[in-house]
Amino acid sequence: MTGPSSIGGLAGLTGLGQADGVPGPSAGRRPSGDHGAEPDLSYGRAPDERLLRAIVQECGEGIVVCDALGVVVMRNAAAAELAPQIVPGRVPASGPAAALLDGQGAEGESREHEHGGRRLLVRRESFGVAHRAWYLRDVSAESARTDALLAERGRTAFLLEAGHRLSASLNLRRCARTAVELAVPFLADTAMVVLPPAGRRQADWLRLSGDDRRLQEGAIALNAAGQVPGLTEALAGFPPVPSRWLDPGQVPGWVLPQGFGPAGHLIVTPLPGNGVPAGALVLARRAGGPAFDEDAETLVRLFAARAGAAISAASLYQEQSATNAILSDDLLPPSLPHLRGVELAGSLRAARQAGLIGGDFYDVYLPGSPAATSGSEGSAGSTGSGASAGSGGSPAEAMVVLGDVCGKGPRAAVLAGQVRHCLRSLLLVEERPERLVPLLNRSLLGSPTPNPYVTLVLATVRAVGDGHLRVGLAVAGHLPPLILRRDGSVHECPARGSMLGALPRTVLTPAEIDLAPGELCLLYSDGITEAFGGPTGRQMYGEQRLKNALAGCAGMPAAAVVERLEQISTDWLGGEVQDDRALLVVRARPRR
C-alpha cells in the first residue's frame, strides 16, 4: 500500500516516478513495490541515475534488464549471486540462464523455476518497447517450509481419517480390511495385516495392493512367519526394527501380491493392542520408490497404534459376543415344529432391540420327544413358523406355552428361560396342565430369583380326526387366548387362573375348545394390548381393537395372521418400543 494519504497527495504534486521519461510498469497494474511512487521529501526532486543504480544494486531481489535484442544491459548483485550465468553484454541464448529469461508466461506473473539447486520465483515486466526486466526471488527456504507444512498436514489428515474409519467397526475382519485400505497408497504400495494367531498354529492375513485395490485374504502357518524379516518379533509384540535394517530381498513371495515385482523397502511393525499384541502390519514399497524415512516410520507407528487399538477392541467384542450368543441361544424362541394337521406360527419382539431377548416367551413341547427343536430363524423379530409341513411331521399331540415374566431385558429373559426349562423337565413326569401349573408355581416360589412372577397360557393340542383340533387351555394370570371361528367371529377363551410365583396356592379354571379346519386360537402377551399409541399417540390399543383386527384375519394362514397382527401393533406404536410383544397362533389346517 502507498503510505499515508497525505504523502500520496504530495507524490501527485511533484509528478515523481515517471519524471525521467522512463515508462512505468504497464498501465492499469499496481506497481509491485511502492518505492517508485515515494517522493524524495528532502530535496523535492527525483534521484539521479547514479543513485537509482545504487539502489537497484543493493536490492535483495535479483534484477536483470535486457534491451530489445535480448542483451543483458544490467544485473544487480542479487541476480549475479542467484544466476551467475547471466552476464551483462551477452544474450543468454541457452542453458539454465536462458530458461530463466525465456520470456514465456504473462507479463507480471510470477513463475517458479528450479535453478542451481534453488527454487526461484521469476517475474517479467516490460518497460516501453526497448526494455524488459526480470525480477528473481529466492524462495527455496519458504517452499521447503511450505512443503513440510503440507506434508505434515497430509499426515495429520491421514491420521484423522484413519482414526475415524478404524473406530467405526467392532468386526475384526472389517477393522483389518479398513487398515489395509487406508495404508495403500498413502503409506506403501502394498499392505498386509497379519491377525493375532489367538492360540492357533496359523494366522489369518488380509492384503491390498495399489494396482487393483482388490482385497486378498489367506492364512499362514506360524512357523512360516519366520521367513519374513521381523514378523515373528512383531507378532510377539516386540518393538519394530527400523526399516533400513530389514532386507527387502528376503521377503518370501507369499507376502507380496502376484506381479508386484521385487520389494525395495519394507516395514514390519507390531499392532499394539490393549495389553496384548493385535497382530502385525507389513508394508512394502517397490524397488525404485522412496524409502521409509524417519517421518514415514513415525507415521507408520502412529497408524499401527490406531489400527492395533481398533483390532484388539474388535477381537474382544467378538469374543464377548460369541460367549453371549452361546449363553442366550436357549433364551431365543424356538423354531416351531411341523405337526400334522396344525399350523403354528409365532413372533416375539423384544423391547430391548439389540439383544432380541426379553421377558415374553413361547415354546412347544412334543411329549415323547426330548424337547422342542431349538435354534431360531434368522429374522430380526424371531418370527417362527412351522406351517410349511407337508405330509410329514409328527402326529399332532403337543403342548404349547406362551408367557410373560415380570421385567424386561436379559434378567427377565433368564427367568423366562428357567420357566421353559422347568416345564420341559416337569413334562417328563406330569402332562396334565391342571397339575403341571401348581408344580411350576412351587418351583418358582423356591427360585432364588427375586419377584419370580410369571403369567402364562398352557395349551395342549390334539388332532381329533376330521381335521378338527381339541385344544386344552390353562390360563395362569395371563390374558385369555382369543378364538377365531370360520365365520369371522372372535371369542374369548373362558379359562382363568392366578399368576404364578406369588402365592403358594394356585387357582385354575381350565377350558377345552374345538377348532374346526381353518379356525384358530391366538395366544398373546400384554405388550400387544397395552401398547400406547394410535392416531393421537396416547390411546391404549386394547383388547377390542385386537379382536376387531383378528376378525379381519379369517381365512389367512397362521403365519400371515401373526405377521398382520404384529404389523398393526408396530404401526400403532408408531416406532415407540415400549414392551416385549409375543404372538402365537395355533390353527387347524384347512381342508384342501
Binding site: 468386526n171 432391540q353 430380526a380 396416547r538 379381519g552 389367512m556 400371515a560 405377521e563 404384529e566 404389523q567
Partner: protein
C-alpha cells in the same frame, strides 16, 4: 424386468416367456386361495422341469406380488386375502431357496428391511437372487430395528448392507439406518420403491449404491464390486427449517385438530361410527406421514403421488375424492407456520381435485 440375457438362458432350459405367463396365472390362482401346497408344488415342478430359479423369483413370484397389490388397491381382494397370498408366496420363495443351494463363492451381504417396514417379499427376493449368484447372504427379514442391524454388522462383518425400503414414509428411518451402517464402517446399497423410481432419495440420503431391481442389484455388485469404505454421512440442509421436526412432534395434536375441523367442514363425518372415525384418522395420519417424508427429502411428488394413489384406493371403495380434498384443505389450514408443507399441500389438493373430476366423469 425381463432382461434379454435371462430370457435366452431360460429358453435354453425349455421354458418360454409364454410358459411363464401361463404358470404365473396358475400361481396367482394358488396364492389367491392361500393354497400353500399347490403354490409350492407349482414352483418345484417348474424347477424340476429345468426352469431357472432366478427367473422364477423375478418373473413369476415378483409379478404375482405386484398384481396382488393392485388387486387389493382395486378392492377386488380383501386385506385377508392379500396377506394370505403374500404368506404363501413367502413359502414358495422358501421352497425355491431350499431346492437350489449354490455354494457361496463371493463376499457376504446383509439384506434387511428398514425399521417399521413390513413389505419384506421384494427384499427377500433380492436375498435369494444374491444367494443364487453365489453371495453369502444374511437375511434379517421385515422390520429390522436399527440397533439389531448394527449389532449384526459388528458380529458378522459383511461387505455390504442391502437395505430395502418400500414406503417413502420409512425414509427418515432408512436414513438413520444408512448413516448408522456407514458409521459402523459398512457401505450400503439401497433398493425398493421408497427410494424413488430413479433412486434419487438413495443418493440424497447418502447410500453408497442403488439398484432398481433384485437382478440389477446383483449385476451391480458383480460388475462394480462393493465400495471398500463407506461414504462419510452428510447433512440435509433443507431440514434446517425444522418443518419436518415440528410436523413429527406435533403429529397427534395436528391430527386431533384436523379431525375436529373435518367434522365441522365435511358433514358426512357427523354420521361416522367410532370405527369409521378411527379409519379416517388413520388415513389423515398417513397423509401427514407422507407429507413428512416429502418434507424430509424435499420433494413434493412423494406426497402428491400418495395423494393420487389414496384417491384411487378410496375411489375403488366408493369413497369420493372430495373427502380427500377437504381433508387436505383442513391440514393446509392447520399448518399455518409451514410454508414448505403448505406449498406441497396446495399441489396435493390439486391432485385430489383432478382425481375427483375423473371420478365424476
Amino acid at each position: 424386468m425381463t432382461a434379454p440375457s435371462t430370457a435366452s438362458a431360460a429358453s435354453a432350459a425349455g421354458l418360454t416367456g409364454a410358459d411363464l405367463v401361463r404358470a404365473g396365472e396358475d400361481y396367482l390362482e394358488c396364492v389367491g386361495r392361500a393354497d400353500e401346497f399347490a403354490a409350492v408344488d407349482l414352483v418345484v415342478d417348474l424347477l424340476r422341469a429345468g426352469a431357472d430359479p432366478e427367473r422364477l423369483l423375478l418373473e413369476l413370484v415378483a409379478p404375482a406380488q405386484r398384481r396382488i397389490g393392485e388387486l387389493w388397491a382395486a378392492n377386488e381382494w380383501s386385506v385377508a386375502r392379500e396377506h394370505g397370498a403374500t404368506a404363501v408366496s413367502e413359502r414358495a420363495v422358501a421352497a425355491i431357496a431350499t431346492y437350489v443351494r449354490p455354494r457361496p463363492t463371493r463376499g457376504r451381504v446383509t439384506v434387511a428391511c428398514t425399521d417399521g417396514e413390513y413389505h419384506a417379499l421384494p427384499t427377500r427376493l433380492l436375498a435369494e437372487v444374491l444367494r443364487l449368484r453365489g453371495w453369502r447372504v444374511d437375511f434379517l427379514g421385515a422390520n429390522v430395528p436399527g440397533p439389531h442391524l448394527i449389532t449384526h454388522l459388528h458380529q458378522s462383518g459383511p461387505d455390504v448392507v442391502a437395505l430395502g425400503c418400500a414406503l417413502a414414509t420409512r425414509l427418515p428411518r432408512a436414513h438413520a439406518t444408512i448413516t448408522a451402517c456407514q458409521s459402523a464402517g459398512v457401505p450400503v446399497m439401497a433398493g425398493g420403491g421408497g427410494f424413488g423410481r430413479d433412486g434419487r432419495y438413495a443418493r440424497l440420503l447418502g447410500a453408497d449404491a442403488w439398484a432398481p431391481t433384485a437382478d440389477a442389484a446383483a449385476d451391480r455388485l458383480e460388475r462394480e464390486g462393493v465400495p471398500a469404505l463407506p461414504a462419510v454421512p452428510g447433512a440435509l440442509a433443507h431440514l434446517g427449517d425444522e418443518e419436518y421436526t415440528h410436523l413429527r412432534r406435533r403429529r397427534a395434536e395436528l391430527l386431533e385438530g384436523a379431525m375436529a375441523a373435518l367434522a365441522r367442514t365435511y358433514p358426512p363425518v357427523a354420521a361416522y361410527d367410532p370405527q369409521q372415525l378411527e379409519a379416517t384418522a388413520e388415513d389423515l395420519g398417513h397423509l401427514i406421514d407422507f407429507l413428512g417424508a416429502a418434507l424430509y427429502v424435499d420433494d413434493a411428488p412423494v406426497f402428491t403421488d400418495f395423494v393420487g394413489w389414496t384417491g384411487s384406493v378410496l375411489g375403488a371403495r366408493g369413497v369420493t375424492a372430495e373427502a380427500l380434498r377437504v381433508g387436505l384443505g383442513v391440514l393446509h389450514d392447520e399448518l399455518r407456520d409451514f410454508p414448505r408443507a403448505r406449498r406441497m399441500l396446495v399441489q396435493g389438493i390439486e391432485v385430489a381435485r383432478i382425481t375427483r373430476a375423473d371420478q365424476e366423469n
